[in-house]
């Protein structure tokens, strides 16, 4: 009896202590995860700790704790693992804010979902992979040791453990699936969501809560209804006279080849206040713009997010039409996406995409099929000796590949080439192919050394891009076939130190600056006049018109929008035009007026 009495008292005491431990553990997770979140924002450690956002941010960590506790039955292991994950999230947020001036967001999780070698290679540019692997190894060993030596938190066949597992799992499913049930907690008003400033949303409610809110929001990202009033208003606007079509449709036999170069992170440094002249860096681009047509282009991204600009160019659908879509190739999962390749294939073109990286990066392999490309040439298709410059495949190797495709072409060819040489980061960690040329790049002497180094590394690579542009133009001219060549930067690079050292000529911030674009043609091709400032989604219609391809209805609307908006700046009709185009784009994407199969059939018939 005495023995039994002793055992009962131990269990009672243990229960009491266990509850105390749980309360302390939960409080510790809530406060520590919040403090780490604040540190990642570089604000005071307890900022907004009494807000609703604090509780909203704590919930996912508590769910994680519940899952780990029920799975491992080890209290200390579950608590410390949850805190380590919170620390990793905070660290990632801190790094992203430092490099891109934007906080972590739900769309960054697409990287984790689509993780492969190319993603790991990119991440290794920012975090030493050996340190990361070492940390993971230490964590695993520590977790195993703790698991072995820590006493189980639950008794055998504990009903409490089963209950905890069921509740945690159910909550986790709700969170991961972006269930609208959660929107009662993760409500825009309650968490103080600030649409125009993601950093403020994170300030109010923490990273974890922001990501959950965005997950719920993204689940409905494609369900943007077209505004028929906005469409009617746009359609009622008069098209400027003598504007369309400027070039008559060219007979199919003389179709020019079309080459589009999306140049990684390219912008003209001349727009920096401290740089008066960039002729030495971009001589070919300047000379081509001066003799052909081109100017500045508004792109929907800064410092990264290449596929946003790429999507606009290839589909002529403004990203503004889908404000909740960050990464279209990952969020739009349609088998057919109306696009420039489909339009060109109808006119007898063979559509190629070229990219000196893994095809799976940004989910391009799958998406390019949906976008109508018949061939996708990726890093594995480049010759074994294809040169790299710095971390990535050189622009020189890409130009070689473009020439090779054109040399073997038997039909009018459309090539969409995505360069990668000038991809960041731009520190001194990756040695360029020609260090002497890098060191000789001019940089303002008044800048701090970090800014000068960053600028030299960057301009070295964009100078290469410019040299390859010059080489490609010479090749196309010498080839004797008519051609259209488009060249543009996908976004401004994340030059942290340079932007700190110098403002921009127009006084606006880096994310609001524009990239250069160029549309050049051979002597036998016609290029129509266009605005010097365009949106990326306007480029496709310009290309089609320059190539003498009859514009489908949607592209006629895009041309109309461009012409109404004038030659260089906003006018009084701009708002109506943009609202109308956004709504037209939504109808255009969802209605899918033609299928991939029908395009192939039409092409076969045309032959």
């Amino acid at each position: 009896m005495e023995l039994d009495g002793t055992r009962v008292s131990i269990v009672r005491e243990a229960r009491w202590v266990r509850w105390l431990m749980v309360i302390v553990g939960l409080a510790c997770i809530a406060v520590c995860s919040w403090v780490m979140d604040r540190l990642s924002l570089s604000v005071g450690p307890f900022t907004y700790i009494s807000s609703f956002g604090f509780y909203a941010n704590t919930l996912p960590y508590l769910i994680l704790f519940g899952l780990l506790l029920s799975l491992t039955a080890r209290f200390f292991l579950a608590t410390s693992s949850t805190l380590i994950i919170a620390a990793i999230v905070a660290f990632a947020n801190y790094e992203k804010l430092e490099v891109l001036s934007r906080p972590l967001s739900f769309s960054d999780l697409f990287f984790v979902k689509e993780i492969d070698l190319s993603v790991l290679r990119l991440l290794s540019s920012y975090i030493n992979p050996w340190v990361a692997v070492g940390c993971v190894a230490v964590f695993i060993v520590a977790a195993i040791l703790v698991f072995k030596h820590e006493r189980p938190f639950f008794r055998k066949r504990s009903s409490m453990r089963i209950c905890l597992a069921i509740i945690s799992m159910a909550m986790a499913v709700l969170v991961v699936s972006g269930s609208s049930w959660l929107s009662t907690v993760y409500d825009a008003g309650k968490i103080r969501f600030v649409g125009w400033a993601p950093a403020l949303t994170v300030l109010h409610t923490g990273i974890a809560a922001t990501i959950i809110y965005q997950n719920i929001d993204y689940a409905h990202a494609l369900s943007e209804a077209p505004d028929t009033t906005a469409i009617d208003k746009f359609l009622a606007l008069a098209t400027p006279k003598a504007a369309m079509p400027a070039v008559p449709a060219t007979p199919k036999v003389t179709r020019p080849d079309i080459v589009v170069i999306q140049s990684e992170s390219l912008f003209d440094p001349e727009i920096l206040a401290d740089i008066s002249d960039s002729d030495a860096v971009l001589p070919n681009l300047h000379s081509a713009i001066a003799s052909g047509k081109g100017g500045r282009m508004l792109v929907p991204t800064f410092g990264g997010g290449t596929i946003r600009t790429e999507f606009e160019v290839l589909t002529s659908i403004p990203m503004a039409a889908y404000p909740r879509i960050s990464f279209p190739y990952l969020q739009i999962r349609q088998d057919h996406i109306p696009s420039l390749p489909f339009v060109l294939r109808k006119s007898g073109y063979e559509a190629y995409a070229i990219h000196g990286n893994e095809g799976s990066f940004w989910n391009r392999t799958k998406t390019f099929v949906a976008l109508g490309f018949q061939h996708f040439v990726t890093a594995k298709d480049f010759p074994a000796g294809a040169s790299k410059d710095g971390r990535y495949m050189s622009d020189h190797a890409m130009t070689n590949m473009i020439e090779s495709v054109l040399d073997h072409a038997s039909a009018p060819t459309f090539i969409f080439a995505i360069s990668i040489e000038a991809h960041g980061p731009y520190g001194n960690s990756a040695l360029p192919a020609n260090p002497a040329a890098r060191d000789a790049m001019p940089a303002p002497k008044a800048w701090p050394q970090a800014a000068r180094d960053e600028y030299k590394n960057y301009t070295y690579h964009i100078h290469d891009a410019d040299s390859e542009l010059g080489r490609l133009i010479k090749y196309l001219d010498a080839r004797g076939r008519p051609y259209i060549l488009a060249f543009y930067g996908d976004h401004l690079p994340g030059l942290v130190h340079v932007y700190h050292a110098s403002a921009f000529d127009d006084g606006r911030l880096a994310p609001l600056q524009q990239v250069p674009w160029l549309l050049a043609s051979g002597p036998k091709s016609g290029v129509v006049q266009s605005r010097s400032k365009i949106y990326a989604w306007m480029l496709g219609a310009n290309l089609l018109e320059a190539a003498g391809v009859e514009l489908p209805q949607y592209y006629r609307s895009i041309r109309k929008a461009e012409l109404i908006m004038g030659t260089d700046s906003w006018n009084t009709q701009s708002d109506s035009v943009l609202a109308g185009i956004d709504s037209l784009a939504r109808s255009h994407l969802v209605q899918q007026p033609q299928s991939a199969a029908s395009v192939s059939t039409e092409k076969e018939g045309a032959k």
Partner: protein, 131 residues
Amino acid sequence: MLRNALGGMRRSRLALWCTLLTLALLISWAAWFFSRGTDYLSISPRTFSECGGVTTKVHVSWDTGDGLPATLMVKNIGKSAKVWTGGKPKGEADTGAWMSDGTTVILKTSDGRVLHRRTLVSTVCAVPAKH
């Protein structure tokens, strides 16, 4: 007997852990309490209502405590910190009407040590319901 002994051992181990934890907390608190200096940074108000606009003026007072000259910096999230004022080890000043939600004032000493940071927060400007 054996069970009894094991039970006793568990209880004593539990008591030992609780005592150690309590001692650690007490020592940490005491160390913090007795080592804290006279340095401080305060902003007033610490919270502002956005009804009057998204920016506001703030009164800042500081003391580096050890007589070293102060540098006061301001930082918005995702932007680099900029020097606002400083020089004297102790002082007070009004900012311009450029402080906004999330702006942090940082007190540093001339040798680069960050002593304190204070972040301005806002309250939502509730729109009155229409009747």
